[in-house]
């Protein structure tokens, strides 16, 4: 009976319904529909931004068996670079011209993304390449790189918090009756969904995506068939870092006040997401990110004291249930 039930649930999508279940439970507990809706949108927005930051880490691990402890450095660099560009273009941001708004925002995000890709390329070449296959040294070296990167952020931008201007068109909230959503959150959700769809299409419909998926499953086999998997590695690493920087840029606009401690805070969240979702799979990462985002917002409303511990508790429960995360890549 139970067996039948679980296969049935599995066929219908299985663990992918977990965020929905979480949202429904929260609905019962919160009782006020408008509050619930606002929190849900906030949770989704946060989840999508975390997804951007975490997806690269997960992909890199799945393909190369490298866990980059320095990944959150890209997030902080992305955030600070985007913030600097926005500050520089603040006159464009405050103008009523939507086009100028748009251009400034795009410039900020693309500066972060460009930097992320370049830094990722450099990182793979210089830091990670010599230690492929040696987990212990990988952990140590990427940890060292994280320290250095965070110090560089401190040297360049100083230790005090930096305020980030938002484009005028994304200021404020949309209001329908009792229900209000910040515009920036909608923007974050849209961008996150676009990134996910993009990744999904590339991974599932293109030849490169086919190679990457094959590489995740069996790297040796792909190499044996004559494909230059090291080139694949470096491009995935660069894309992953660029996504992290993009997530950081979005996060900077979302928080409107960023400090160099941001990297470390996000690192923990990103790790929890990847642990929950299972290493190596994009779907798993999205699932984990949405769960963490939703849980974080609901718990912050229902029991503010528990807010920080919530993702931790979530991680423990999921690890007890599935030690390798919800949807790990096949290994």
């Amino acid at each position: 009976m139970m067996q039948q039930l679980s296969t049935k649930i599995g066929k219908l999508g299985g663990v992918y319904w977990l965020p929905v279940v979480v949202a429904l439970i929260a609905f019962v507990l919160i009782k006020v529909p408008s509050t619930w809706a606002t929190l849900t949108v906030a949770g989704l927005a946060m989840g999508m931004m975390i997804f951007l930051m975490a997806s690269g880490l997960s992909l890199v691990f799945g393909l190369m068996d490298v866990l980059n402890f320095g990944h959150s450095a890209f997030v902080s660099f992305g955030a600070f670079i985007a913030a600097s560009v926005l500050v520089g273009l603040s006159s464009w941001l405050s103008s009523d011209n939507t086009l100028l708004n748009m251009v400034a925002l795009l410039l900020a995000i693309s500066a972060a993304v460009m930097f992320g890709a370049l830094a990722g390329w450099f990182f793979e070449r210089v830091i990670v390449r010599p230690v492929y296959g040696d987990h212990l040294r990988q952990i140590l070296i990427t940890m060292g790189a994280l320290i250095v990167a965070e110090q560089i952020v401190l040297v360049i931008w100083g230790g005090s918090p930096m305020s980030v201007p938002r484009p005028r068109m994304l200021e404020g909230a949309l209001i329908w009756g009792d229900f209000s959503v910040e515009k920036y959150r909608i923007f974050a959700v849209i961008l996150g969904v676009l990134a996910y769809v993009g990744l999904y299409l590339v991974l599932n419909l293109t030849r490169v995506g086919l190679l990457i998926r094959a590489g995740v499953e069996s790297r040796d086999m792909v190499e044996t068939l004559g494909f230059r998997i090291d080139r694949l590695f470096i491009s995935v690493f660069a894309v992953g870092s660029a996504l992290a920087a993009m997530g950081g840029a979005m996060w900077a606009g979302y928080q409107t006040l960023i400090s160099p401690a941001l990297g470390q805070e996000m690192m923990i969240i990103v790790f929890i997401v990847v642990i929950i979702g299972g290493l190596g799979s994009i779907q798993g990462t999205l699932l984990g990110a949405l769960m963490v985002g939703l849980m974080g917002n609901y718990v912050a409303f229902l029991a503010p004291k528990l807010a920080l511990a919530s993702s931790m508790i979530l991680m423990v429960i999921i690890l007890l249930w599935r030690p390798n995360g919800l949807k790990p890549a096949l290994k």
Binding site: R137, L140, I147, V148, F271, M315, L319
Partner: protein, 357 residues
């Protein structure tokens, strides 16, 4: 000059024992207050790093939660002293609770996640440790939040306490050093750390230590021979956690202050990592060298760096880079270079250089 492994081992041990002897007589050789601070910190970190080496070097477990256990001991003792007043009872009760919680937590983390890959375990411990740090800041009613706790320690360790007096009631001086409570506290730190170190040394040469080695070298084979890898790993993880917590208690007594920066922060974890890597993983003697080198560098290189700033004040960029506040930047670079070029560390390079040939 070529040295073989036996000679290398001899050199490493001689160095380590020399450091030990220097630490024993440190209060008389270097009577300044600051040097005593340095010496006590070296003692504490030798024990702490050695316990971490049991994990990373001997068993191949990468954990980032070591400061968590260290902090549990320190906070246990600190909260005990704060709430129950300065007595030995409060040290015992608070310290014991801290150590027990550390063991329990280590046991749980171990059972929960030592089954999975090393890299996964590293992530889980990092997450747990970071959340603990945040929690410590949040429950500021007990932990003092970011400011930490200052408290008074048992009577014997107060600087004003006269441990030995002459007939006229003045404190006796030996070689110009007052036999006061500060000195008693230092020798308390020294002897506890020495005992812990010897205990760990004993563990590594026991049959149990051999099993740990075998797990590091080939987990599957160890399992196949009939050793329950998860049980051994969980044991050594809890054991190292207990040691770290005891060291935490000792450090809390010595500092008379406990805060996130001295016990829980990621910076301490990075220090421990650096010391293990500098000293050499897989030799407890290496921990002695690593801890000594890094603590000395931390205390005295900053002085050199500030001197460098004032010397180069007129030049561009250099003063910013040499600013002692950015000292972690340099440590990070040194760390990366060390992991690349001397993965075996000081002790390992001396001992194993010839064995590969």
């Amino acid at each position: 000059m070529t040295i073989n492994a036996t000679q290398g081992r001899l050199i490493v041990r001689t160095l380590a024992i020399t450091i030990g002897v220097l630490l024993l007589v440190a209060p008389f050789l270097f009577p300044a207050v600051r040097s005593l601070e340095v010496a006590a910190r070296i003692c504490v970190f030798i024990a702490l790093v050695a316990s971490y080496d049991l994990l990373i070097g001997y068993t191949g477990i990468v954990s980032f939660a070591h400061t968590l256990f260290f902090g549990l001991g320190a906070y246990g003792c600190a909260i005990g002293l704060k709430q129950m007043g300065p007595s030995w009872d409060s040290v015992l009760v608070g310290g014991a609770i801290g150590v027990l919680v550390a063991i329990l937590l280590a046991f749980l983390i171990g059972l929960l996640s030592l089954r999975v890959k090393a890299i996964f375990f590293a992530m889980v411990t990092l997450a747990v440790a970071s959340v603990a740090m945040v929690l410590a800041n949040q429950f500021s009613g007990y932990t003092g939040g970011e400011d930490g706790l200052t408290y008074r320690v048992p009577e014997l360790f107060k600087t004003a306490t006269k441990v030995m007096t002459d007939e006229s009631g003045r404190v006796i001086k030996v070689l110009g050093v007052k036999l006061n409570g500060k000195l008693a506290a230092y020798y308390f730190v020294f002897s506890v750390c020495l005992l812990l170190f010897l205990l760990m040394l004993r563990l590594t040469i026991s049959p149990l230590g051999r099993v740990l080695f075998s797990i590091r070298e080939n987990e599957l084979r160890a399992e196949a021979i009939g050793y329950r890898v998860v049980a051994y790993r969980t044991f050594v993880f809890s054991f190292a956690a207990a040691i770290a917590a005891i060291v935490g208690v000792v450090y809390a007594i010595w500092l008379k202050y406990t805060g996130p920066e001295t016990s829980l922060s990621l910076t301490i974890m990075i220090d421990i990592l650096l010391m293990v890597v500098i000293g050499g993983m897989g030799t407890l003697w290496g921990a002695v060298l690593g801890a000594t080198v890094l603590v000395l560098a931390q205390y005295y290189l900053r002085d050199v760096m500030s001197a460098g700033v004032s010397l180069t004040a007129d030049l561009p960029i250099l003063p910013i880079i040499l600013n002692p506040d950015h000292w972690l930047l340099w440590l990070g670079l040194v760390f990366i270079l060390l992991v690349y070029s001397f993965p075996a560390g000081l002790a390992g390079t001396l001992i194993y250089r010839q064995e590969g040939d």
